[in-house]
């Protein structure tokens, strides 16, 4: 696990907060938290994309954020657990892992990296 991928994962973690915030925020503090989460998550993915390809970073960011939101809603907002949700999350993680294994760390190496 290197620092650039760590930024993508932490960025996706913060994305979950603001997605939940956009849906459930209802006052000054919750909205402030939502806005701060948006800024932190975007800052992290911009930093990560200085070394990793943006297309990869953005797909992983959006995908993990969605998976995290679905899991949070199951845990904290008692949404029903459905088999198809679990299977889609598993597929998504396969894609993330694949990209992580395939992607060279520094996109400056050339058009092929």
């Amino acid at each position: 696990m290197n620092a650039n991928w760590m930024k993508v994962f932490v960025g996706a973690f913060f994305e979950v907060f603001w997605v939940i915030g956009l849906k459930h925020a209802n006052g000054f503090w919750t909205w402030s938290g939502t806005v701060i989460s948006i800024m932190v998550s975007f800052y992290l993915i911009i930093m990560a994309s200085r070394k990793l390809p943006v297309g990869t970073v953005y797909a992983v960011f959006v995908g993990l954020g969605t998976a995290g939101t679905v899991i949070s809603e199951i845990i904290f907002f008692s949404e029903p657990i459905k088999l198809e949700k679990i299977m889609l999350i598993a597929l998504l993680l396969v894609g993330v892992l694949g990209l992580k294994l395939l992607t060279k760390d520094d996109k400056q190496e050339g058009a092929d990296s």
Binding site: G63, L99, A111
Partner: protein, 104 residues
């Protein structure tokens, strides 16, 4: 109108993703402004589309156009890898994301 607005929202998001590259190449206020303009406009169009379309559907299509468009533009403009395994992984993530937004 809602569908047109949704497609425009996706295109603005893809534009926003491209401006992340632009900001990395030249770190200035102009690039930051373009990035915020891209995502800001995208959210406005998305919010408008969601007034009439179901939220899950709107989100799924918006994410799909934005991420796939962003990845394609990255390949075309910035020479990101077009290794078929990379494209397959991105497609897998996108498919699963769209599926999750639709079943949620």
């Amino acid at each position: 109108m809602a569908w047109l607005s949704l497609i425009l929202a996706g295109l603005c998001e893809a534009f926003g993703v491209v401006t992340i590259n632009k900001l990395n190449n030249s770190r200035n206020w102009q690039s930051l402004f373009l990035l915020m303009l891209g995502f800001g406009t995208s959210f406005l169009f998305l919010a408008y589309a969601m007034k009439t379309l179901p939220m899950g559907t709107a989100y799924a299509i918006w994410t799909g156009i934005g991420s796939a468009g962003g990845a394609l533009l990255g390949i075309m403009i910035y020479g990101e890898s077009k290794d078929w395994r990379r494209i397959a992984c991105i497609a897998l993530i996108l498919g699963a994301t769209i599926g999750l937004k639709l079943v949620a």
